[in-house]
């Protein structure tokens, strides 16, 4: 397993958010995490990426413990993420946004920058090339000099993915990447997710409410309800699991159409 959670529990002021979750993502896999609203999906992302510290349990990436790491250290070790509500650096250019991802793969400090050392210049060139390559990969070549905030919403989501890819991750966490996209954009997103795995070898873990997208793109699906994992399997078996249907009862129609 690339990512492994063992007996992870998280609570806020006595409210249990995650309860003894055992969960794993295999290398090179497209894996989805689904569940009703409030099931604890985003909390799980925040625990994995170091934004929340679980009270109990262990998390490893490639065998390395990441459970007490700060978010920036987790990213450096190889997990990148996007946010549920797009969080770009709005007043900066698209290219500058993507370059942020390269920060943890470079090291020049203030003195190297002021003196413009050859190593610093070479590093800047590499940051630029990698970032442009990531932008090209998500299909946004030509938009690099525009302000992030001026981009159409669907494009902003792609910039966020490019920025995450620029961290050169082993595992990419996508938090509701299809939210707010139209059907054409969703189709393109499915292709993009597949290409991320096929061409870059990056495992993808996504949280998504759009069931047709989840069933279409996932190789494995885990279902979270009230902070516990209730089942896991391939799309077909999860779709027909009575526990899953029960968990979704009372949810809105879109999710019932499982």
């Amino acid at each position: 397993m690339l990512l492994q959670l063992k007996q992870v529990s998280l609570s806020f002021a006595g409210n249990t958010v995650l309860h003894e979750v055992d969960f794993g993502v295999a290398a090179g896999r497209i894996h989805s995490l689904i569940g009703p609203n409030g099931a604890g999906k985003t909390s799980m992302f925040n625990v994995i990426t170091g934004f929340y510290r679980p009270q109990q349990g262990d998390i490893t990436l490639d065998g390395e413990r990441i459970v007490k790491c700060k978010p920036h250290a987790v990213t450096r070790l190889g997990i990148a993420r996007t946010f549920q509500n797009v969080r770009l650096f709005r007043e900066m250019s698209v290219l500058e946004n993507v370059m942020a991802g390269q920060h943890c793969r470079s090291k020049a400090g203030a003195l190297a920058a002021i003196l413009r050392l050859p190593s610093q210049r070479a590093e800047e060139r590499r940051i630029l090339e990698t970032s442009l390559e990531c932008l090209d990969f998500v299909g946004l070549m030509g938009h690099q000099d525009r302000l992030a905030t001026n981009l159409a919403y669907g494009h902003q989501r792609r910039v966020e993915i490019a920025r995450a890819l620029a961290t050169e991750p082993k595992l990419l966490l996508l938090d509701e990447p299809a939210a707010g996209l139209n059907s054409g954009e969703k189709q393109a997103l499915i292709e993009l997710i597949r290409r991320i795995r096929d061409e870059r070898g990056v495992a993808v873990l996504l949280i998504e409410h759009d069931m047709s997208l989840v069933m279409n793109v996932s190789e494995r699906i885990s279902v979270l309800d009230h902070g516990s994992l209730i089942t896991e399997g391939d799309p077909h078996s999860v779709q027909n699991d009575p526990k899953v249907i029960e968990a979704y009862l009372g949810q809105d129609d879109e999710e019932l159409a499982l």
Partner: protein, 337 residues
């Protein structure tokens, strides 16, 4: 996109972005110097003016301009902290003081050569930056402002009460430096020293801004969580801004002390910190040409208004208020609109 839906604002924007005409006069000026060739010509012109000025103006003007150039160095340093990293610092004069006092003490009391004393002054300033920054950078910016204000006052009171710093009367007879046989002592000599420092501070600011670290400061200022998620250590990044700013301040202080030959705690008052911050905010935080303009306005403004006698500070204050009223984000326009 649905063909029948009306164009969204972003669609319109896409077509007009390249054709938008800058309206503000300064914006036009900025646009005129977008090309590298013109920018180079502008740099050379400004440099030529700076070199020639002391030969065609009075000694009084030279001294005032020297002070303005000192402010350029200090303001560009504070701009790294406030403008780039977004950390409000109300005690910046403390770093200025650390640089000035370290060199003053080492050269005047211990007979250390001026140039040999510089590395110690820079190290002292960096250390001061870490000491104040380390424990406080986790604070929100308004609390940080209060802590830095306190730090500035602590440094000033320490200088006033220690024997080694000369107490309230400060240090005097700080020896003037020489460089390869050139004894730097006249006001024109020091003017040129500060021209060199201001140019170096300008180049350093520009290079920092265009670097990995410079971008990291902006990321952290814009969205700390997103920056962390991108693998940027926000505490280390803010600390780097603090230390960089401290070193700029110390360099200003080092040459300030040998220029005047005497320093006292009152040279590093809260008012000094506020004036430097004022110049940065006035010019436009994070915008290098704006900050330089701000430094000149803060120093030259009261001098140009000297004809108004006792009213000059009042008039200056009203002018500043008017500027902030009409240009709340600083005189210099945004690079992209």
């Amino acid at each position: 996109m649905d063909k029948h839906s009306p164009p969204t604002p972003t669609d319109v924007d896409e077509h007009d972005a390249g054709r938008a005409k800058p309206r503000h006069p300064l914006q036009k000026l900025y646009a005129a110097f977008e090309s590298p060739g013109r920018r180079r010509a502008l740099h050379l012109t400004i440099l030529a003016i700076l070199i020639v000025t002391p030969w065609i103006s009075s000694q009084y003007t030279t001294v005032i301009l020297t002070n303005a150039l000192l402010y350029v160095v200090l303001c560009l340093g504070l701009n790294v902290v406030v403008g780039y990293a977004g950390l409000l610092d109300l005690g910046y004069a403390a770093f200025f003081a650390v640089g000035a006092y370290t060199v003053g003490i080492l050269t005047q009391q211990f007979g250390v050569n001026f140039w040999a004393a510089i590395p110690f002054a820079l190290m002292a300033a960096a250390l001061a930056g870490v000491i104040i920054g380390g424990p406080t950078l986790r604070l929100r910016s308004d609390y940080l402002a209060i802590v830095t204000l306190g730090f500035g006052e602590i440094v000033r009171f320490t200088a006033r009460n220690l024997e080694i710093t000369g107490g309230a009367s400060g240090l005097s007879h700080i020896p003037e430096p020489s460089l390869f046989g050139w004894h730097i002592d006249s006001s024109i000599d020091f003017y040129y020293v500060f021209v060199v420092l201001a140019v170096l501070a300008y180049i350093a600011s520009q290079r920092l801004f265009d670097s990995r670290l410079g971008r990291a400061w902006l990321y952290v200022r814009h969205d700390e969580d997103a920056a962390e998620a991108m693998g940027i250590n926000r505490v280390a990044t803010k600390l780097a801004a603090y230390v960089t700013g401290a070193i700029f301040g110390a360099i200003g202080g080092i040459f300030f002390s040998v220029n005047l030959g005497a320093i006292s705690p009152e040279s590093f008052s809260f008012q000094q910190s506020v004036l430097i911050l004022l110049a940065v905010v006035l010019g436009g935080m994070g915008k290098i040409p704006g900050v330089i303009l701000g430094a000149f306005i803060v120093v030259l403004g009261p001098e140009l208004l000297r004809d108004f006698g006792t009213l000059r500070l009042l008039i200056f204050a009203v002018l500043l208020l008017l500027i902030m009223l009409f240009r709340p984000s600083g005189i210099w326009p945004e690079k992209r609109s």
